[in-house]
């Protein structure tokens, strides 16, 4: 095409670099002009998110609290976000970086699908997540905040839900039954294993059965970790990913499950 019309490309990162105004750099790649500056005190952090397999796919549960040091900044933050029809991201760590990640990944997946006329493979999507995390390492080393995401996907080709967690540098690990991230997650890690060993694997349970376990775990995390919001004040966010796509659980349905927990 004529000058001014970019050539065909499936690489959203390259496209952005090419189209960016002179002098601009993406915050997660290359030399950052903010070198040496510390993250401003008061930057928001998200806390505890859980991903558990169940019979039809994966359910994600996240508290709604965002904290800045010991300040509760916001109690209606949504940390479970759809990336596309079959991929959910649950975020913990720097809220600003995480939102950047979500925006970048959504655009990257959409751009690939629309320009290449095919869906990006699950492996490709996971590599994009790693690429984002690798890009945040320089900032991480300067204490500017980091993101630890959980990815829950319904793998259409394998016809199964899958859960992946990452470390701050971008290493990816797949888990068999569950994943958790955020400051509250370390307190409850052993409890997941206890449930699997005593009640059986999550991927064989029905949605409400797994959801009850997840809500109890989140409640315990909130009791043991000051940065994690509980169940009572604001309902947590709950989303599922299955063969049919992503569904956000209705507040009435969730309130009923939470109510039953209190009664038992």
């Amino acid at each position: 095409m004529d000058a001014g019309m970019p050539a065909a490309s499936g690489d959203f990162m390259l496209l952005l670099q090419r189209g960016a105004p002179p002098g601009a750099s993406m915050p997660w790649c290359g030399a950052d002009p903010r070198v040496g500056r510390l993250e401003p005190a008061g930057a928001a952090h998200g806390t505890t998110v859980l991903a558990l397999k169940y019979r039809d796919g994966v359910v994600n549960v996240g508290d709604r609290r965002a904290t800045a040091e010991n300040l509760v900044l916001y109690d209606r933050a949504d940390k479970i976000l759809p990336l596309d029809d079959h991929t959910l991201i649950a975020i913990s760590g720097s809220y600003a970086r995480a939102m950047d990640a979500v925006r970048f990944l959504r655009h990257s997946f959409n751009y690939y699908r629309r320009s290449q006329l095919q869906e990006m493979s699950l492996e490709g999507k996971l590599n994009e997540v790693t690429r984002f995390l690798v890009g945040t390492v320089p900032d991480l080393l300067q204490g500017q905040g980091y993101v630890v995401p959980l990815i829950s996907a319904f793998d259409v080709s394998a016809d199964a839900g899958r859960v992946f967690f990452f470390d701050v540098a971008g290493a990816r690990f797949e888990t068999a039954e569950f994943g958790a991230a955020g400051s509250g997650s370390h307190r409850i890690r052993g409890a997941f294993d206890y449930i699997v060993k005593t009640k059986g694997p999550f991927h064989e349970m029905a949605l409400h059965e797994v959801l009850r376990e997840a809500l109890v775990l989140l409640d315990i995390a909130a009791e043991l970790d000051a940065a994690t919001g509980g169940l009572q004040k604001v309902l947590p966010s709950v989303k599922t990913v299955t063969r049919e796509g992503i569904r956000e659980m209705e507040e009435a349905e969730l309130a009923e499950v939470v109510g039953q927990l209190g009664a038992s």
Binding site: M1, D2, A3, G4, M5, P6, A7, A8, S9, F12, L15, L16, G19, D85, R103, F104, R106, H107, N110, Y111, R113, R114, S115, L117, G245
Partner: protein, 261 residues
Amino acid sequence: MAFTPYDWNQSIQHREDYVADRLREGSPVVGLRYAGGVALVTLRRSQRKVFEIYDRLMFAGLGSQSDIEAVRVAAIDFAHQEGFRRSPDDVTIQRVVGFALSPALKRQFADPFHVPAIIRGLFAEVGQTPEDDRLYLLDHDGEFEVYRHYACAAATVEQQERMAAYAGRSFDASAGWESAVALGLRTWAVGRLPAVESEDDGCAGGATGAAVPVLPDEARITQALAEGLRDLQPEVGLLERDAPRESKFRLVPAEEIPRPG
């Protein structure tokens, strides 16, 4: 090269003739609003013809495959850069067609060292409300026209007017998408039929002198559509206003497309 105004006019005319000649065999595209959004309807050979551009935008066109691809990719690139840098709400059909594509096509058409793009494209946008739905017809020279309810892209302006006249007779914005597709397919067939020779020199406007296209009768349309469907595949893209996803586009699977008869 152009040395006099006459040469310049000649070179533009040559380019127009070249594009018209290359467009002649193209399969028309019909865009129609329906109760839940906007539909683009066409028949194609092996290559896809209806494409998703952005959350609320789609595109289909006729012309050379490489030019359709270049316009498609340019639209996608512009939409995604804008949507990422600002917000998906800032990606509108007016900006994509009017700002990003039209001037570039015009430059290409007017540049004697470039082959002009062989394309006639139809862009559709689904709005938050039915009043905001839009269809943009983009021509090879960068000119574009805005339509509210239905629009047709075909090889000649005469074909487009004939198709629009036919679609306008039974267009119903409150119909379901299946009815819109049925009308779209018949309108496509109207575009494929040769112009009807009327008794008063092809002008049926009567005393007013306005040229109203003469439409073929329904039996011929049914036959032309049946012939088209024998050789070609129907293709339908929808922008569904109430889809729960951010992306409103859906390429209707072949088995879901209503077949006539």
